[in-house]
Amino acid sequence: MDRVIETHRLSKVYRRGVYALRDVSLQIDKGEFVFLTGPSGAGKSTLLRLLLCEERPSDGRLTVSGRNLDELRPREVQAYRRTIGFVFQDFKLIPRMTVLENVSFVLRVLGLSSVQQRRRTFQVLKWVGLQHRMNAYPQDLSGGEQQRIAIARALVNDPALVLADEPTGNLDPDLSLEIMNLFREINARGTTVLVATHDRELIRQVGRRAISLDQGHVTEVM
């Protein structure tokens, strides 16, 4: 089977010698659905940020689909990011744009016609149950609604790899499970999914492989 994500003795040290990741080696295959779990400050977001090229590894090797992320040039980084769907822990919606614009922007960059943009955007907004709020601005939405918009944006361009950082932190259990079912559906169509979460109940309910981090170390691979 194809390796999608592979890390080898990956470490990340922030300023002042804070080790967020230390010698992390793991593999995720194409089509897998994997949870990343661990207590607050374990390094989950850091690993995802490295996968998005938002940070550079301090040490070790990190390859995605066989390409070493450390060797990408700026233009390639942008192209690479367009193949990923990322749900940010703090949503990162553009306040100046409406919900519709926030989500369809990704498609516009890919060069889709505006009819296609609208159709696809409307579809994902319906998936997360927010099609009626599409002309609102992000700051006029509740926390959970913003989170669902962030999820919609990550899924809109049918990415090959979905990385989600705590995507249900602001959602009630029922909605969380619904979103997870959405991820499962996308996964069933061949997309590799990596979800960081602290919600053990949810992991149990979804019942997939989970990687545990603690203080930068991999402690458990279920």
């Binding site: 998005l52 990162k92 553009i94 922007f105 960059v109």
Partner: protein, 295 residues
């Protein structure tokens, strides 16, 4: 293509949504370009004016009352021989008296009384300006002063020197100010684009993270800079024109009368082009720099 359309759309949107800040920014660029243009304009006009004055610099040769026509002709030959003399004009004693009477009607009675006409005949000379004129004219003045039948030669050199020096100082100060103001203009564009960037730095960061191509990220800022610069320049040109017309209406006649010359009221097309292109270039560069420096 997509990036271009997107950039223009976003820049216009940003101009509209951030009307307040955009207005402020355009006003700053307008002001910078207006002051710059005004300076170039004033410098240009003053230079031409001084040039015109230098061109009209006069040498007056006063003839003795007892000078013979032959002596006068000799003097005129001397003038004709000099390459620096543009023209000369004989003013007879009676013409001089008439001139005085015309200038000071209330004194007309006074002049003629005790000793007949007191005004000397004179030859008024218009000089050609050019390099080396001054030294040569000084020499000419000395020769004329020594010629028979000449009572005095007056050359307004001291005043012209003063004027030229003054014009030189004004020009130097102007140059300094234009330099300073160009820097100020560039600086304000930088500030304004920085302001735009500041206001949207989170957005730029987010765009980067969702994989927008660099042209989509930077394009809108460059376009916005260009728009600000262009609009500012156009407004500045409008203001310059309006100012010119206003000054002309207010002071035109007075200035013309006092200076004895029609001053040059020009807003050259070249200057306009320069201002517009300059504004857009500076604005665009400001936008580019700001966009590039965004991490």
């Amino acid at each position: 293509m997509g990036a271009l359309a997107y950039s223009l759309e976003q820049a216009l949107l940003s101009l509209w949504r951030g009307r307040g800040a955009s207005l402020l920014s355009i006003a700053t660029i307008t002001l910078a370009l207006f002051v710059l243009g005004a300076f170039l304009l004033v410098t240009l006009n003053v230079q031409r004016l001084v040039g015109a004055w230098r061109g009209s610099a006069e040498l007056s040769i006063y003839l003795q009352d007892e000078a013979t026509p032959a002596e006068r002709t000799a003097v005129e030959h001397l003038l004709d021989a000099s390459p620096f003399v543009a023209a000369h004009d004989y003013v007879s004693k009676s013409q001089a008296e008439k001139r005085f009477a015309a200038l000071f009607p209330d004194l007309a009675g006074l002049s003629g009384e005790p000793a007949g006409n007191p005004f000397p005949a004179s030859i008024e000379v218009r000089l050609r300006s050019g390099p080396g004129t001054e030294g040569a004219v000084d020499a000419l003045a000395g020769r004329l002063r020594a010629a028979a039948g000449v009572s005095d030669v007056r050359y307004d050199r001291r005043w012209i020197d003063r004027l030229v020096t003054l014009a030189g100082i004004v020009g130097a100060v102007g140059l300094l100010l234009v330099t300073v103001l160009s820097v100020a203009g560039a600086l304000s564009v930088a500030i304004v684009v920085r302001l735009a960037l500041f206001a949207r730095r989170d957005e730029v960061e987010i765009m980067r993270l969702v994989g927008a191509p660099l042209s989509y990220i930077r394009g809108p800022f460059v376009t916005e800079g260009l728009l600000h610069g262009g609009v500012g320049a156009l407004i500045a040109i409008g203001l310059l024109l309006a100012g010119l017309v206003a000054v002309r209406a207010e002071y035109g006649l007075a200035v013309q009368a006092a200076l004895g010359l029609a001053p040059i009221w020009l807003l050259p097309l070249r200057l306009c082009g320069l201002v517009v292109v300059g504004g857009m270039v500076v604005g665009g560069i400001g936008g580019l720099v700001a966009a590039w420096s965004s991490r």
